[in-house]
């Protein structure tokens, strides 16, 4: 096991219908999701560092309901 038998047979993939071949590009989506997670975590950390939660609470406490 391992080695060649676990590799993707790209020649075979290229002969599959387009929709099946497309579904094999999942790793790119996982990379994008991981990058988004990293960005999100960074933003939350910055927000916590600058004490944004307290600022937001103060803003909302002073928020006047829009009643036309």
């Amino acid at each position: 096991l391992g080695g060649r038998s676990e590799r993707v047979n790209y020649r075979l993939v290229s002969t599959l219908p387009k929709s099946i071949a497309r579904s094999r590009s999942g790793s790119l989506k996982h990379t994008a999701a991981a990058f988004t997670l990293l960005l999100g975590l960074t933003a939350v950390m910055i927000g916590l560092y600058i004490n944004e939660y307290k600022a937001l609470t103060d803003i909302l406490r002073g928020y006047v309901f829009l009643f036309p």
């Binding site: 929709s19 099946i20 497309r22 579904s23 094999r24 999942g26 989506k29 996982h30 994008a32 999701a33 991981a34 988004t36 997670l37 960005l39 999100g40 975590l41 960074t42 933003a43 939350v44 950390m45 910055i46 927000g47 916590l48 600058i50 944004e52 939660y53 600022a55 937001l56 609470t57 803003i59 909302l60 928020y63 006047v64 309901f65 829009l66 009643f67 036309p68």
Partner: protein, 301 residues
């Protein structure tokens, strides 16, 4: 439905304060990618998009709110639209009352679903430029010119704010004047004079709310499909989210059961085999339940 009902109660938890006077529930200054207006006195957890607008108008950069949107988007995509959003739940109730799903012509559907991106970008443009102008110390006139739209262009017209904020206020005002309405009913002239004094924004809000209900009756999840800017924001992340739905090429018989049941009118059979993440998918799992061959299943990651 049970999860959605519980979410509706949780999101509007401050309503319990009015029912049980001993309760002292307070709102959490936290945003979720749903429609829960800051303009409602009952909201316990706010809409991320509303908080972004409110913060930009101050001007503060919404780090935590944006971070939460990115985290939720990367993990579950638009699942909050299908499971937590109170506005989505109300539309589902209307569709269930009607008893059938009507379809929009594919051409109209393709064009109309771009409207929500226009609303999203338009709102962000106004809020963003206002925030930047205020940050640079030059936005006072701009803010004054925007008027009520300054604290959130979308907040001022969103149907959730009208439904959970404006309508209860109107009802409470009407209740106070209920007795006098019958003891001394207004004349037609007085009623007409009152109607002409209704502020245009209030009239617009009521019109949008009526349109929202009418459209939800005609088309399932109309607001989510075509008009929701929060949905547009999350659709960007849905494409790359870890959660998705998998279609098994061995079990799938290409029958149309899944497409017929999809409230977002997604052409599931045209999507790739294996895991798929359509930007319009709200992960409601209606298609998974509808598939008689068990070919669809949730997939994570």
């Amino acid at each position: 439905m049970i999860v959605q009902l519980l979410s509706l109660l949780a999101v509007n938890a401050l309503a319990f304060n009015a029912i049980f006077p001993n309760l002292k529930l307070q709102a959490i200054s936290f945003g979720l990618p749903i429609l829960a207006s800051v303009n409602s006195p009952f909201t316990a957890v706010y809409s991320s998009f509303d908080l972004i607008q409110v913060e930009l108008a101050q001007p503060e950069f919404p780090w935590i709110v944006l971070g939460t949107v990115l985290l939720i988007g990367a993990v579950v995509g638009r699942a909050f639209c299908g499971w937590v959003c109170p506005v989505g739940f109300i539309q589902d109730i209307i569709t269930n009352l009607k008893g059938r799903l009507d379809f929009v012509s594919p051409r109209t559907h393709r064009s109309a679903k771009k409207l929500k991106y226009v609303l999203f970008l338009g709102t962000l443009l106004i809020s963003g430029t206002l925030g930047l102008a205020l940050y640079l110390g030059a936005g006072t006139a701009y803010k004054a010119a925007l008027g009520v739209l300054a604290s959130g262009p979308f907040i001022a017209i969103s149907p959730d704010g009208t439904l959970f904020g404006v309508v209860p206020t109107l009802v409470s005002l009407a209740r106070d004047n209920f007795a006098s309405f019958f003891t001394k009913p207004p004349t037609i002239q007085q009623f007409w004079a009152y109607l002409t004094q209704v502020p245009p924004l209030l009239a617009l809000r009521i019109l949008i709310l009526v349109g929202f209900f009418g459209a939800a009756w005609k088309v399932p999840r109309f607001w989510c499909r075509y008009a929701c800017p929060t949905g547009a924001m999350m659709a960007v992340f849905q494409k790359y989210s870890l959660a998705g739905i998998k279609r098994d090429p061995v079990k799938c018989q290409k029958c149309p059961h899944c497409e017929v049941k999809c409230p977002m009118q997604i052409n599931i059979l045209d999507l790739p085999w294996g895991k798929f993440n359509d930007p319009e998918c709200i992960m409601c799992m209606e298609c998974v339940d509808a598939c008689p061959h068990g070919s669809l299943s949730p997939k994570f990651p």
